[in-house]
Symmetry: C2
Subunit: 235 residues, 2 copies
């Protein structure tokens, strides 16, 4: 029993070793995030995480207490890093509403679909959204709310100020859902679309264009349906 886990395991160590300590922590956190992202909390094993981080099995418990705390820290870390890369492109007062929407959708899709090394963070957060663990609910909440707020502002601008709250929300979800779809349901897209078509028309840029166009038209209307009754209708 050398030390308390994860709390203040260091007493009066030099600041130099402090950074060393943090490097190990960060290395574990990274590998853990990657593995949690594509296996989930349950299926990911501490042993594999430690193997990939090139540390002993006991390191997780020494640095983080237990597996769950490691997971929470990984999610928290992913959220913070993504939040810092979140900022949407700035727009001026001259930027049209449709352009703002395109920028929003493009940025969102880039974060979701890019294949650079930081992409696993988004997968990890998505996993938390689809099946939240009580521990991380708050984290996700804080991460998602402001982002959603930006979208709602754009929509309000598009449809006018006197739109009802629920229409605003429904429309917002319609936009969000189309973007998230391509991350969560990649396999389904692969089934329905040939590789060539996928290559040409399902890259981030083209998808952003389609979603923007589709949604911008869809939202520019808050009147109700003509209440279709299924019998009489002769064009």
């Amino acid at each position: 029993m050398g030390v308390e886990p994860s709390k203040g395991a260091v007493s009066l160590a030099a600041t130099k070793t402090m950074t060393q300590r943090d490097e190990v922590r960060k290395r574990i956190l990274m590998r853990a995030g990657e593995i949690f992202a594509d296996r989930g909390f349950q299926s990911a094993t501490v042993r594999e995480i430690c193997q990939r981080a090139e540390v002993n099995v006991a390191a997780v418990n020494y640095y983080f207490g237990d597996k769950e705390c490691l997971y929470i820290d990984a999610v928290k870390d992913a959220r913070e890093l993504i939040a810092s890369r979140w900022p949407l492109p700035e727009w001026t007062r001259e930027t049209s509403t449709e352009q703002k929407l395109l920028m929003f959708v493009t940025t969102f899709l880039q974060r979701l679909l890019n294949t650079d090394p930081s992409n696993w963070r988004m997968k990890l957060l998505l996993r938390e959204i689809l099946e939240p663990s009580r521990a991380c609910e708050e984290i996700i909440q804080e991460s998602f709310r402001p982002f959603f707020g930006v979208l709602l502002d754009i929509i309000r601008e598009a449809v006018g100020p006197n739109v009802s709250e629920h229409q605003l929300h429904q429309t917002g979800f319609s936009v969000i859902s189309q973007c998230v779809f391509y991350l969560a349901n990649r396999r389904v897209v692969g089934i329905m679309v040939t590789p060539a078509e996928r290559e040409q028309h399902f890259q981030t840029e083209m998808l952003a264009k389609h979603i923007t166009q589709f949604s911008f038209l869809g939202m520019k209307n808050s009147r109700s349906l003509p209440e279709p009754n299924p019998t009489s209708e002769t064009s």
Copy 2:
């Protein structure tokens, strides 16, 4: 070694006992499906399944061979039962395109969001869509393709015959994604929307109306965006 597992474990038993045997199989299959649906393959345990089905732990291996075969059978079973409840409302030649779309979306949402005892089947299939196991890929494929085809027909009818294939697919995904969203992301909706608003405006019927209206407008256009360049644009 009394019997081969899962193949033809009965040789010349009476047809009466045959039904008994099938009853046990079906009971296990049901409980397994329910548990697989909300825990996933890995997290679901054979022991819990057997406990809920009120059979011995060994029953799974006796009747199905192993856990994975049980899972595959459960998915297959869910697919078949849902497929039989799938049929969209029949429409006549007088039914308008928008009505067809509304019917399609309504049916889809009902299957996804209803809370009757058969709902776990949809969750199980959704899980397979989000993280497919190689074993069930084909099953999902066969289940999803024809359903998607019906939607594509509606869209083709709405936008005219000379629409390009990729626009058709993109639009189809836009509709599908909005529906699936409300099943997969229930928690997110709960965060962003007050219970009262949810009660009033996020029930199946209202969502179907919104999605139909939103999508119908969105798809009624295949022209390209005005190619927004972010600098010059003075309304």
